[in-house]
């Protein structure tokens, strides 16, 4: 995988890419005895292969146009621009941008949780890496920025809408990855847009935000998947409607999951906010610029806000259904806390989330240099308040690798590689002024204040005498665990607004008559794109295949007839070309 990041030859890139994809398959199917796991793994493999073929064409065309497999900045040749679409499709499948995400939910849900963490944290980022890398190296078509941003906004909104409607918490996290990729794509789209509008400074801002979000998402999503993994390990179910009240048995997991949830929703003072904030700044600048790009940036900003609010609902639901309230089933009531070996990595990841949130300036130099390397500029100085404080990260990049390699290192950092970053020597990028240091102080202050106020209130409450009693529940005499809001009912209100795309499948039996039978209400959200588009298409393909296979019926006479028919067909082809 690291190979993917470091090669500078198209052929080697493809090799590394595909080997990495195939490894992904074997990781997903580690638990290969279950049919669902195998299906999910195969779906992953198949879509991934489709993406690789796109990339094969991409690199093939690149090689045809440039005459070799060597990669490098080629921004001069405008005829290469249409290739961007191929790269977008190929890398987009890996990244899981919305209509191409079909493999992602089931793969993430069925893989072992640490693998899900790795995939969500790193694997799908390879797609992002590809898009960033090649949009930086190649000229892009004029519409690229618009399309990428539109795709990103769609991914963000629909990804989180699907996440909200899920009952399987790992699927929820997977769809949330679709959302986060969408957020990253919004940032990248902003950068592309800025480039096509004369290299506006806000583009870099959006790109820096996107890259930082790559990093952040890696940290908090891994944390959440680890948390999900320990819940799965403890209770044996992925259905949130069968859980509840786990905080009592697994306080560590609950706390860390809550932390991850705050981070993923993008709330201050954690890291998710910092990157979203940067992307917002880019978008707001774009809108305030009143250029044509504002027409895209404006809806993108609003959709980003919508997605953020939905994410809040989603993770409030996830946290509440899994950890809060009363246990809904026996297995949830008998859960046990994960061991130290599971807790350790979670603590480390939580530390990263906290650290990146409170001291965002740590990564700033790497981000600016990456954004700069993406598009070197001739003029403009780095006007960054936070730059001066980042002296912890001052080792050097190998200079021979050139500026092009820097984005790789930025992503390299996301997976815990101890690369150290330093702004590359080649050209200081013009970055809009960003009070990142101030933001850091605000976040730090906020965290401090929260800790202080929380402690204070707790002490006050203890001093005032804390009593325990049953939940009041408006005086209802016999509250039961089954009366709690379930995952479906929690999401019902908001996901109803998206039923046009979610297309939930309902089974309902109402209470009827004087001696009613048991009433039932079930709702399941399908994989809409997969179930309603891809599978029907696949069924059609299988029909064609079945029809063609019927030709191989075993009757020799017909086989000889086929030979004669082929002869006639080829002869008529030749005739057609030779008769004027």
């Amino acid at each position: 995988m690291l190979l993917v990041l470091t090669v500078s030859n198209g052929l080697h890139f493809l090799v590394a890419w595909e080997v990495f994809a195939v490894c992904g398959y074997f990781l997903i199917t580690l638990d290969g005895n279950k049919r669902a796991v195998r299906t999910a793994g195969w779906l992953y493999l198949a879509t991934s292969h489709a993406g690789t073929l796109c990339l094969c064409v991409f690199f093939g065309l690149l090689a045809v146009k440039t005459g070799g497999w060597e990669l490098g900045p080629l921004r001069g040749d405008a005829s290469l621009a249409p290739l961007f679409w191929l790269a977008l499709a190929g890398f987009g499948i890996k990244a899981g941008i919305f209509p191409l995400h079909i493999w992602l939910p089931s793969a993430h849900a069925n893989a072992p949780s640490h693998v899900s963490a790795l995939m969500s944290g790193v694997a799908i980022k390879m797609g992002v890496y590809g898009i960033v890398r090649f949009s930086g190296w190649l000229p892009v078509p004029a519409a690229a920025g618009w399309v990428v941003m539109a795709l990103g906004a769609t991914s963000a909104l629909l990804g989180i809408a699907f996440a909200l409607a899920q009952n399987d918490f790992k699927r929820l996290l997977a769809y949330c990855s679709v959302e986060n990729i969408g957020i990253i794509m919004i940032g990248i789209g902003g950068a592309l847009l800025a480039r096509s509008h004369g290299d506006a400074a806000w583009g870099r801002l959006a790109l820096a935000g996107a890259l930082l979000h790559v990093w952040n998402h890696g940290a908090f999503k891994a944390l959440l998947f680890f948390g999900a993994g320990s819940v799965l390990h403890a209770t044996g179910t992925r259905e949130m409607s069968r859980l509840g009240g786990l905080w009592q048995r697994m306080p560590w997991t609950a706390g860390l999951f809550a932390l991850g949830a705050v981070a993923v929703v993008g709330l201050p003072p954690l890291n998710g906010f910092v990157s979203e904030w940067l992307i917002y700044l880019g978008l707001f600048d774009a809108v305030a610029g009143k250029q044509a790009s504002a027409w895209v940036a404006m809806p993108a900003a609003i959709l980003l806000g919508l997605a953020g609010a939905l994410a809040l609902a989603t993770f409030a639901k996830a946290g509440a259904m899994i950890f809060l309230g009363a246990a809904r089933t026996k297995s949830a009531a008998l859960a046990h806390e994960c061991g130290n070996w599971m807790r350790g990595p979670m603590l480390a990841l939580a530390g990263i989330c906290l650290g990146l949130g409170l001291v965002p300036t740590l990564v700033w130099p790497a981000l600016t240099s990456a954004a700069g390397a993406w598009q070197p500029v001739q003029s403009g100085g780095l006007s960054d308040c936070g730059n001066g404080e980042a002296d912890g990260q001052r080792a050097g990049y190998p200079h021979h690798s050139g500026p092009g390699i820097v984005p790789a290192a930025v992503i390299g950092l996301t997976i815990g590689e101890t690369h150290a970053a330093k702004p590359s020597a080649g050209g200081a990028p013009a970055m809009a002024e960003v009070p990142l240091a101030t933001l850091g102080w605000v976040q730090l202050g906020l965290a401090g204040l929260m800790a202080a106020a929380g402690t204070l209130l707790w002490r006050k409450v203890m001093a005032n005498n804390l009593r325990r009693g049953p939940t009041w529940d408006c005086g209802y005499a016999a509250p039961a665990a089954r009366m709690q809001y379930t995952s479906g009912s929690f999401a019902g209100l908001a996901s109803a607004w998206f039923s046009w795309i979610l297309r939930p499948l309902r089974t309902m039996r109402r209470v009827h008559g004087h001696f009613p039978a048991e009433a039932i209400y079930q709702e399941r959200v399908p994989e809409t794109v997969l179930d309603m588009v891809i599978l029907p298409l696949a069924a059609r393909g299988m029909q064609v295949s079945a029809a063609v296979r019927r030709l191989q019926h075993g009757h020799l006479s017909f086989y000889i007839l086929y030979v004669v028919v082929a002869l006639a067909a080829l002869a008529s082809l030749v005739l057609l070309e030779n008769v004027p």
């Binding site: 005895n33 198949a46 292969h49 299988m542 086989y559 082809l573």
Partner: protein, 479 residues
């Protein structure tokens, strides 16, 4: 002279094997002849002899670009065959071994044939020599497969004879002196009668295409590959098809010289793409993993044909693909044979969980499937990428898109079947079967070697091999 030895050694070995009294030691003729043949072939490969322009037989650049890999494939299959025949000691092996050795000799002859008639004779002879190989198992199914192979193949062969005669008549009509060597025909070039050349081309393409197994003439292929012993399948898929392909290449060169190259390329393109498409559709639904390999072979024959239609770069890529496909397909056939033997069945419905029963063969099989579906870093990936690049260079956008779409479908089909038989829990019946198949070195090492060779070909394509392909292209496109 050494090039004649390539034909003589297997022929003599075949004669000796036929006369050898002991059926337990007779299989050793296979690797014996294989080793000598392989050494000779690679010696000639490294030090290519000069071939006289008018000679009827010779180790010319095209033979040099194909023969070594066929020889290598035979050697590995022969080694596998020793173990295989020991397992199948209940079947008489005299005719089988004789025929297999004869096939090797005739393949060497067919690849080296530089004369229109001679080429046809050897290709036909290979077809006939393969017949005893197909019904080795002696089951009704095997006879049925043989019957179909013989009649469909025979029809193709008849058409290619008619085509050869037409090409000869084209030369005669154009004032040729009856020298029907390819060099002479190419030298005659525009002097050949165009209508006759075109008629000949269509007939020869269909005829040799039947031997290659291009759709829709592929119909006997799944039956034959499905019922024959696996190393025979490997030799058919890697060896016989190569002879037919070189035959098409040689004829294409003549047609090109006669000024009808464009038409020829269009027909090649059409039938190549059609083969890929049909094979992909078959692969999507097939449930028998040995027949699946046959369809995959149809697909790869389509890729070869496609490459042949794409000019110099395409032909070089296609020759590369001959190598990578032969080696990879060989590994697949041999490992599939192990699985077949261990599971006692060859359909997906009855075979499951082979990663438990035959872990090593299953691993080789799955790796082979990845290799043959053009996953790097194996040979087929690089050769197909070269075909792709050739297609892109010549600006065939729609064809590239179709080609890739079909590759994707083929991947779906192949991976579906492969994982279907490898994963899951084994059938209780297969587990409890009386004589358990043991994965000895004799049945594991050969496919592994082939897979390693495919990997080696992909990662470190030797300069000398690349040069051999380039030389063959120069022979086919002299100007």
């Amino acid at each position: 002279m050494t090039s004649l030895l390539l034909i003589l050694v297997p022929s003599i070995a075949a004669a000796l094997a036929a006369a050898w009294p002991d059926s337990r030691t007779r299989p050793w003729f296979l690797p014996g002849a294989g080793v000598i043949h392989c050494v000779l072939a690679w010696w000639l490969f490294c030090a290519p002899p000069t071939v006289e322009a008018g000679s009827w037989l010779g180790f010319d650049p095209l033979a040099r670009a194909v023969l070594p890999v066929v020889s290598l494939l035979f050697l590995v299959c022969a080694c596998y065959g020793v173990t295989y025949l020991r397992i199948r000691s209940e079947r008489p092996n005299r005719i089988f071994i004789t025929a297999l050795l004869a096939v090797l000799g005739l393949l060497s002859a067919g690849l080296q044939a530089r004369h229109l008639g001679l080429l046809w004779i050897f290709t036909e002879a290979v077809t006939l020599a393969a017949v005893p190989l197909l019904h080795f198992n002696g089951t009704p199914r095997a006879f049925e497969a043989t019957w179909k192979y013989l009649l469909v193949g025979g029809t193709g062969i008849a058409l290619s004879l008619l085509g050869s005669l037409c090409l000869g008549y084209a030369s005669l009509y154009g004032g040729g002196d009856g020298q029907l060597t390819f060099m002479a025909l190419m030298a005659q070039g525009g002097g050949l009668s165009r209508p006759w050349v075109l008629i000949a081309w269509v007939l020869l393409l269909v005829g040799y295409g039947t031997k290659m197994g291009l759709a829709p003439m592929h119909t006997c292929k799944p039956d034959a590959y499905g019922e024959a012993p696996v190393m025979v399948g490997a030799m058919l898929a890697g060896g016989v098809t190569s002879v037919a392909f070189t035959a098409i290449l040689r004829v294409r060169a003549v047609v090109g010289a006669a000024g009808a190259g464009g038409v020829a390329d269009h027909t090649l393109l059409a039938i190549g793409l059609f083969s890929i498409l049909v094979a992909a559709l078959f692969l999507l639904g097939t449930r028998d993993f040995k027949r699946m390999l046959a369809y995959s072979s149809v697909e790869h024959m389509g890729i070869l044909t496609l490459g042949a239609a794409l000019g110099r770069a395409g032909v070089a890529a296609a020759l590369f693909h001959v190598w990578s496909n032969s080696l990879t397909k060989g590994a697949l056939f041999l490992s599939a044979g192990n699985i077949r033997r261990a599971a006692g069945s060859q359909t997906m419905d009855a075979v499951r969980g082979m990663s438990v029963l035959t872990p090593r063969s299953a691993a080789i099989f799955v790796t082979g499937i990845f290799a043959v579906t053009a996953c790097p870093p194996f040979g087929p990936f690089f050769s197909e990428l070269k075909v792709l690049r050739a297609a892109l260079e010549t600006g065939h956008w729609a064809i590239t898109a179709m080609f890739l779409g079909c590759l994707l479908l083929a991947f779906f089909g192949l991976s579906r079947v492969a994982f279907g038989i490898v994963d899951g829990r084994p059938h209780p019946a297969a587990k409890a079967g009386g004589t358990r198949f043991v994965e000895t070195a004799g049945v594991i090492v050969p496919p592994l070697v082939l897979l390693a060779l495919s990997l080696w070909l992909g990662l470190f394509t030797p300069r000398m091999v690349t040069e051999a392909w380039a030389a063959a292209v120069t022979q086919l496109y002299p100007n």
